[in-house]
Symmetry: C2
Subunit: 184 residues, 2 copies
Amino acid sequence: MTVEHRTSSELSATGKVVLGMLAFGKHTGYEIKQFVDKSTRHFWAASYGQIYPELRRFTVQGLVRSRSEPSGRRARTVFELTEDGERLLTSWLESTEAPLIELRHEGMLKLFFSDAGTAAKLDHVRAIRAGHERKLEALLAVEPQARQAPDSGPYLTLSLGLRFNQCIVDWCLATERRLAGEEG
Amino acid sequence: MTVEHRTSSELSATGKVVLGMLAFGKHTGYEIKQFVDKSTRHFWAASYGQIYPELRRFTVQGLVRSRSEPSGRRARTVFELTEDGERLLTSWLESTEAPLIELRHEGMLKLFFSDAGTAAKLDHVRAIRAGHERKLEALLAVEPQARQAPDSGPYLTLSLGLRFNQCIVDWCLATERRLAGEEG
DNA sequence: AGGTGCATGTAACAGGTTACATGATTAA
DNA sequence: TTAATCATGTAACCTGTTACATGCACCT
């Protein structure tokens, strides 16, 4: 029986965020999910259906330690990283492979195919803008103080998120003006 | 036996791009995949493993017509939209539900958790920039004339893609300068 | 007494990737 | 002749979402 060397490339998407959140100080599946939903959600989502099984797998693999810490009579399982878990997390954070970028953007797809439909390009662009305006609102709602964007890890990504959503909104506005001008 | 009214919300991700590509003038599974890879790939990818089964499902559902059109002795199945297929495509293009936006961005996730590792934030930001510079190159390589960005559907999305990747690169550069200044 | 939030989980399903297999054609 | 490209497809696997089920605790 060989103990295989675990590398960060074996981590699933949910695994990565779970490991990170444990180091971040979130200790139960519930806490992890809640915090993901108000932090990384916009660029890295996760669901209970993945988080809980992943925590169990990590326990079996010795990457986390779990103990039961009920609050009152309510069951509650608390997790923390083992040294192996910490090692795996750092090795992932330090790996230099090209980081994954995956996008699914329905508005852009519709715009791409707009000639096959009857809706004007202008409408597709407006719909794209609305989507990103919603994103901006959501980002600002969670952390209103983000406007100052200090350089701690969490705030840096927030500032990046604000910037690039704003960039798309600006592009839409400019394009809308141009398209409206051509029609009017 | 009731013929159910098909709505665009029943379309899978791959279904949407397949339908659109058929209207766009791509008629075989192979052509669709090739063209996706040099057009929508950056915001909507698809694989053979989904495209071929989807084409068969569409045939069964009467959304496309298929006929065998071998080129020489090499097998080749050509597909085209039926009226039902066209209707479904337009109804999707005209649907006003908030269009899906999904992002998986590993660089941002690493930056978010950077305090748990030993790598400097500066390195994470540089890695993010490298990723988006690659995207820019890929976009320009396929359509060098995109710099002029006319307003046809395909070029509009290309222009948007260029803009927002450029925006992230700029943010990275500014942030790198700031982080380097704090360290030096 | 009832609603909201805390907390844990599973089953069914959907969606998608990867690797593999096959074979013809064409250009070097 | 060999590599690349055209062309089609499947099986195994992985990943992930949704909906459901359960029950405690706290506040009003």
